[in-house]
Symmetry: D2
């Protein structure tokens, strides 16, 4: 929400904002791992006492479905940076590009390539002491992994202990037959969830059924990370990748001032915090 | 739904209707245990291959809160009849009358009396090989036990292994902060649930959030009894006890023809059947 | 929420609390019209610049269903007090007692008596320049008028221009096949609504579908009064009438601090404020 | 649901299936207007007594945003075919391609071009006695018109009486802050709605809040077309355009056998049919 460039200025602003908003951790978008100054970021995070999770999508040149070796190289660097930042995990669309669509259902070759790349990356992550997450996204943002069940399938195929499922209520709203069903399908591997409204705007003001989401999370004994996500203040290239063509909230004050208390209230109502 | 008198005629009609509707078991209202012909009922149930659960509320003369000894005598007879019918459990408002309200919050003495009566009854039930359930009902039908949490409290106080919590979505819709929350509060003891719509009419046509209900049931690994409940075809004295003053469904065909497939569809969607 | 006795102390406290909470008007429970000091109340309301609506249920001695003449006398006094307070309307369970249940569906004689009493009262209200409302309540609080459709029927039977329908989401949650359906049934006469959660606790933390409620209100062009209602801080006799046996919210700060912003946010989202 | 090619075989199959399923009208996808045999279609529709609505998206070569003259030519032909088929309206993504995304918010030039093309097409439609609809689609399927409010804006800019807004619950689930809000925003121009589940599968088994949708439609007095939409049985090129990579329902029997009765039941509950 606060920065798309993890440079000195952006990192400082995001860490200050997260701390001020009462966040328990921060998710850092590793949009360009190569240019990330991990040492500086670690210093700022340490000073603020703020744990971090890193997330990313893979640039087209390194898409695992087509170029598993390139993907491994890319993810290796990203994992080094995540470790350098002192993050606990790297997660997101680690299996492909945000917007990657072949125009066909995923082929066996594509899925094999993805499994190859992720298996290697999971091992490298383990060497760094990092957990490694996989986030299904909706049909428009990837043709590869859209549902919790598909995420589970690839995690179980790879069989690495440090891999986990990362769900996102925005994507689930499009893909799952009820968010509860997605949580149920992913329950054995779910350790992280993006709480994102149906329009990627202010949580509590869209179509997500938050009571169902929190009740089901509580019922499966979820104790992973609950991360509010909203997309405002984006540079054009990110808005493009996410297909956000209009402001989805009035401003970040609305998201923080209304959406965050809403989510915290619901999480408390269901005993999750 | 089919009879309020478990006599030869009523029993035969109800068993035939339940079988025809594809029910896996039948719930028998033991409105007047003394006059129940258990042997005949058992014969009919056996012939139909239909398992049974018995339910009741306690007549005023035997209310546990005021007359624990009388309650024990009443429940002892009811448990004998339930055992005689070959039922698996006796459940319902076993802790008081349907409509029992002192006009005050429950007192410690009332709760002590209830615990005394239920503890004795649970032991007798055990001797019969019967499970013994307790169904919280809404604030208007009892001042004693309205929420899952209150049901759990008395079950844990008594500590009998054969006691279980029996929830009802109709009552939860009034008392719980989300049906999911009630299921969560009761999860350790929940073995039976009445799937009853918010107006006691046709399931799927009221205000109950069935996705939340089934998602949470699936998430806690519920494998107890799912019983559709609707109140039509009632004699005046029962309508009185339940405060039903108008038809809550067009007819029983609507409940069976629309409500039952709706519930079965949702149960299947969440993997519960 | 703030007082059950409209004496000097209670009135001052309630008016101060309503003003401080940013309410646009206050609803005054005329629990005992005879003892209400209307002149003092009017003075305090004027000073605070706070419009008022009065509400009540009829004491058993004056129940319209049985004693229409007595009811007219009672309502005449209540209307005088409401006018004396400078209120805009008298509303509520004007057709009977809170908790009045004969144990049978309403008879034609009962409904005739109610219509006689309300017709006379509506005329007296008109003389005072007061609107006169009728609030359907759930099956346990009255056997006479439970649904919007029943409220509309009696309003249209009487045919007085100053009569209006007053709905309450708490009761609708039990009686209507979706709150939207109740609003639709009452649309021609609906001018006032109690926004009350399913457990009478903090709005936004129960089972009411607030999006459906506000969307439907907006769609019918509702421009009447939106009144938050919650029942805490009640003396035992009122708790008894309403069958509230436990605290339904932690405290009034929770209702005002969480429930009120929730309702205001949703009303704004749907363009109602 | 039944055919993607409106040739003799496909038309006959679709008309037979629609009639058998109890549909009151059929929506014909004019995927390739030039090759559509309108005379044959009209004959089959007349014989079946089935009214029709035509829908389409614009091929890239004729996108209104870039090539308004080409778009006019394309739409002119499509309107001739729709008129030839005896349809009542042409609607859909008439303002662009399904999947058209520039990567930027819509520019003023693009919107001007769209308005120019649609204004001319609306006039031609009028000459044929055809209504002319515009369907906002989600952010991934177009960057031009995603919300009801955006659809209304262009309709009101053009000012043609025969233009109408066509909403789709699948897209609204992603774009509107509650489907009710979208219906409210579009109420003055809404004459057609696609009832499509959140995953484009079986209605009643996803995340759409159907009670809110039907309650709001009833409340605005909607009397336009209610069209069930589901995407199964698609050729690869259509699946590509819609980004459907997996079966979203078990089969068309599930959609017709479960989804259609669900929608009809809800429409009846809210008095819409």
């Amino acid at each position: 929400m606060w920065t798309m460039s993890w440079d000195a200025e952006g990192a400082a602003r995001a860490i200050a904002a997260a701390t001020e908003s009462g966040m328990d951790f921060i998710e850092i978008a590793l949009l360009d791992p190569a240019s990330t100054d991990a040492a500086l970021g670690r210093q700022l995070l340490n000073k603020a006492g703020l744990p971090a999770v890193c997330s990313l999508g893979v640039p087209e040149h390194y898409w695992p479905s087509k170029n598993p070796e390139g993907a491994i190289a890319f993810l290796t660097l990203a994992l080094e940076k995540a470790a350098g930042l002192g993050a606990e995990a790297l997660t997101g669309v680690v299996y492909g590009g945000i917007g990657e669509r072949s125009g066909q259902p995923p082929t066996q070759t594509e899925l094999d390539n993805v499994a190859t790349a992720l298996k290697a990356a999971a091992k490298i992550a383990k060497g760094h002491g990092l957990a490694f997450g996989i986030e299904p996204v909706n049909r428009y943002e990837s043709h590869l992994i859209n549902t919790a069940a598909q995420g589970v399938a690839i995690i179980e195929r790879i069989g690495a202990e440090n891999m986990f499922l990362h769900l996102d209520t925005y994507h689930m709203n499009i893909e799952e037959r009820g968010a509860g069903n997605g949580i149920l399908a992913g329950r054995d591997h779910l350790r992280y969830i993006h709480l994102s409204e149906s329009d990627r705007g202010t949580p509590g003001q869209g179509t997500c059924d938050w009571d169902e989401i929190f009740a089901t999370l509580a019922a499966i004994g979820f104790d992973g990370g609950l991360a509010m996500e909203s997309f405002i203040n984006m540079p054009p290239e990110i808005a493009h990748g996410l297909s956000v063509w209009r402001p989805v909230a009035d401003n970040s004050e609305q998201v923080i001032g209304q959406g965050l208390p809403f989510l915290k209230g619901k999480a408390a109502q269901y005993g999750l915090i």
